[in-house]
Amino acid sequence: MSEPLRRIPADEPAPESGSGSDPGLAARREHSLRSLLELSRELKVSLDLYETADLLLFNLMGQFGTARSAMWLFTGDKGARSVMVRCHGFKPQAVSAVTDICADAVRRRLAREPSPMLSWALKPDLGTAEFELIRQVGIALFAPLSAHGELLGLLALGARVNGTSYTDDNLQTLETALGMVGMSLQNTRLYNRLFENNRQLRLSHDRLLEHTRLKSEFLSNVNHELRTPLAVIIGTLECIVDHRSTDEDLKGLVQGGLKKSHDLRGMIENLLILADATEGRLEVQIEAGTLGPVLEAFHAERLAGVSETLREFRFEPGGDLPGARFDRKRLLQILNELVDNAVKFTPSGARLVLRTSRLEENDRRWVGIEVSDNGPGIPADRLENLFRSFEQVDGSSTRRVGGLGVGLAFARQLAERMNGELRVRSDVGAGSTFTLLLPAA
């Protein structure tokens, strides 16, 4: 960074002494160095944006002795939206207000001067009310997260609990840490994007293979069940045309009929292709098995892609689970549908949780798999419609997120074919939970 660090003006509290006579200075510098080494070591193995955020924030809080920290990442077109990804110590509602009211102005300033900046230095960029909000929330400094000159996000730290101000040494250490984290975040996001793209390609490939197989099977049925009678009709009409060519009127009628038969065959073929695409062939192979490793692998596979959309995705296994009876392939199809659905209908910054539970109901033992989110939720009168084909919560959502609206209907059919159930509960403003119940083995 070529920009000089901001100096603390005379009317601000005095910084800690930086002189060589301070007996604790060497020890504190060693502590800072060890902190940077720890951060560097841990960043090498972290591939989750939220884990990286926690690593950074806890590390900085411990280095500088502050009990409050928060981190935002930018998303959307040209990073136009600020999404708060982690907050420790600050009241979450207060940080949300900062996100809504101040983040844009802070981002513009840090884009011009990409260095850590004490809050008071932002006063010229903020209105009185905005500056007062930052003061009341207790944000002592903001700092940019950037890589290759691109501003990826920003970070806020609260005041130091021992009452001293951040020193130039602290700000330089912070800048060094943020440099490492910026590169790591960029690498993480690129890796996650690549991982997700590969997953999508693999899924597309699998779907294409499945469609090809189904199409071949289906075309074979079409040939036998529908095309054979039509071939007979066409053959008969062709014979009439060939052998009664002297009766011009009859010939004209028959030629018309022949043409219509060909048209009919074409239309039926098109309809069957459409049916092939939307109906699906639901073969299931149910076996008794353990869900834990399947769900763990599923979470690991989806984590990168979900994180890439700036949604947190956590797996919370619910202790000892009995075995369950399920078709692994169909189970994964359902879970993919539920996670895709949660990503589609929640805003960036939302939290998705995959968890398991055990349940007894009507003398039956079930294993429950939940996919829950803290998104906008679904009105009660729309909940059951979700499972009808071509239904989405509203038309505008259909246009915003796209899709035929057949995914949840498909998922419920699959659940029922495995002798299970797919349920939903939702609170508007609090989020939704989809629960897949599978028979315990």
């Binding site: 806890f58 002795g65 420790h88």
Partner: protein
Amino acid sequence: MSDFRLEVVPASPRTDVVRVHGHLDARSATTLLSQCRMVAQEGKHLVLNLAGVAFISSSGIGALLALVEEHNQTPYQVRLTEVSPAADSVIRLLNLDQILAIDATEEASRQAVEAA
């Protein structure tokens, strides 16, 4: 996090003791926070026993500060007790011994949180 371990012991109907063993660092910080948040969610005060902490990094200190701050926003108290020499030296280096509530024994901490 090779030897990190938490032990939750009810000290009284109103207070739980969480005994921390091993390295409190970046890997174990979130586990500690999650476990301690559950104590507050159950409506209990928290005594954090650091006697078994062999090493504490910046991230571990950060987690302790976040934990104390989060508890300050609830009706429940948190105090540290039996801080090991390894943890004590870092806490003192950062002058946090003036800020964090530290006691010599679990019983002293329990009495302090329940009297507050």
